[in-house]
Amino acid sequence: MIRLAAVTKTFPTSGGRKMVLDRVTARFPGDRNVAVIGRNGAGKSTLLRMIGGSIEPDHGEIHRFGRISWPIGLKTIFQGTLTGAQNARFIARIYSADTEDMVEKVAAFADLGADLHEPTGNYSSGMKARLAFACSMAIPFDVYLVDEITAVGDASFRKRCNRAFRELSETARLIMVSHSDRNLRAHCSAAMVLERGRLSYFEHLEDGLRAHAENIEDV
């Protein structure tokens, strides 16, 4: 479970500071997979990074219960001079997982073959995404933050991602950002709609999607 208590967050842009959250108090329940919905640039990724703890709110507090992943889908977590396997070992070390076990799991999931032992600087963006996804799946978390991951890879990789999410859902929760309603319907049952600095929780995903559609209409 994750609780936001009077959280304010602004983001610097060229046209001054943009409001992402305006004194928001909200609760992500511990027993539901929640879709985070909002228009482009509303701050969905910022919200995920804040929940993960890699950026901090300007005001207010975030209470986290359980072990929370970094926002999955980030391709910028690798150091280009290190190989895929070395990067995976680094992640295993910081999250106290067994390094060789980690490399095995990542090799099986990312399906990069011999490229796993090439510097990630030479990877295509699709390969990086596969590696990033495989790394996050190999570490056990209570909550996985998922940011637009399913946009990458070929059909067979997407299939593997979806299967992995379903398996995870048995023991862990997902908080997911995606522009694909189909994806959200496949994995989430509830919704958090981010609109003009406010967060509204919807018990049913469909209600959230409908509210979002209405928001977009009356621009």
């Binding site: 990074r49 910028t76 290190l82």
Partner: protein
């Protein structure tokens, strides 16, 4: 339950950061470490070569390489640590996406790695020079350790402060680069404080690095007294920079993460 990072979490992160930096810097080619060692050695030899053409004897003792190595290495340990630590947050910015990795972790990991590297290169270079030059020097290890400790503390303090200040102001970063270069000339690598005119003495005494090089020289020239040296004050200055750096890093945390 909210899971706060424990000491063992932090130690694990430090270890992982150090392994990572070592693999990316020294792992791919043997060249990485060799350069860390050749750069100061080359500087010392070049200085010795040039200055021995100008005067027969160095200001202390009779051997140029020992004179320059004792002064330059002390300066080098400080400068190398300060430079590397200054960029810790920026170089490791992508890693800060992992919530478990903090800016302070990247600073400490870089510091430890640089300290270990520098102690190793220092020991090799001093041994090499003393053995090949057949110089009979009496070594005062207390002074040598004190010089290394003060160089490390100054480097860490200045580096920690720069992490925050570089992010705050790009012009400060440029000024720091400009000020740092001539520092080499006024830190007692080429000369002794005692041989300066009184007016110059009154100025350079404010440079913490001239105390540093003098302490290292005391380690290799036991008869060199340098009674004017203030190790405590210089150490306190380093400590002050470090504390200020930690405070600034905390205050600047959002900025460091989002830059």
């Amino acid at each position: 339950m909210r899971r706060k990072p424990t000491i063992s979490d932090q130690l694990r992160v430090l270890f992982a950061l150090m392994v990572r930096e070592m693999t990316s810097r020294y792992g791919r080619t043997a060249g990485g470490f060799v350069w860390a060692f050749l750069e100061p050695l080359g500087t010392v030899l070049l200085l010795s070569l040039v200055f021995s053409q100008i005067a027969r004897h160095p200001p202390l003792g009779s051997n140029y390489p020992v004179f320059f190595a004792s002064g330059y290495m002390a300066f080098h340990i400080y400068m190398d640590i300060a430079r590397s630590v200054s960029l810790a947050a920026r170089t490791n910015r992508t890693l800060l996406s992992f919530p478990i990795v903090t800016v302070l972790d990247t600073i400490i990991a870089r510091f430890l790695l640089q300290l270990i590297t520098n102690i190793t290169t220092f020991s090799i270079i001093m041994t090499l020079i003393i053995v090949t030059q057949d110089a009979s020097v009496g070594i005062d290890l207390t002074q040598v350790f004190m010089a290394i400790a003060i160089a490390a503390l100054l480097g860490l303090g200045v580096g920690a402060m720069n992490n925050a200040l570089f992010a705050l102001s790009p012009s400060y970063e440029r000024v720091f680069g400009i000020v740092n270069r001539p520092l080499f000339l006024i830190s007692g690598v080429f000369f002794l404080y005692e041989h300066l005119p009184a007016g110059a003495q009154a100025l350079v005494i404010w440079n913490p690095l001239i105390h540093l090089t003098a302490i290292m020289r005391r380690g290799f020239y036991p008869y060199y007294e340098a009674a004017w040296v203030q190790p405590m004050i210089v150490a306190l200055f380093g400590l002050g920079c470090l504390l200020l750096g930690i405070l600034l890093t905390r205050a600047m945390r959002p900025r460091l993460l989002e830059q």
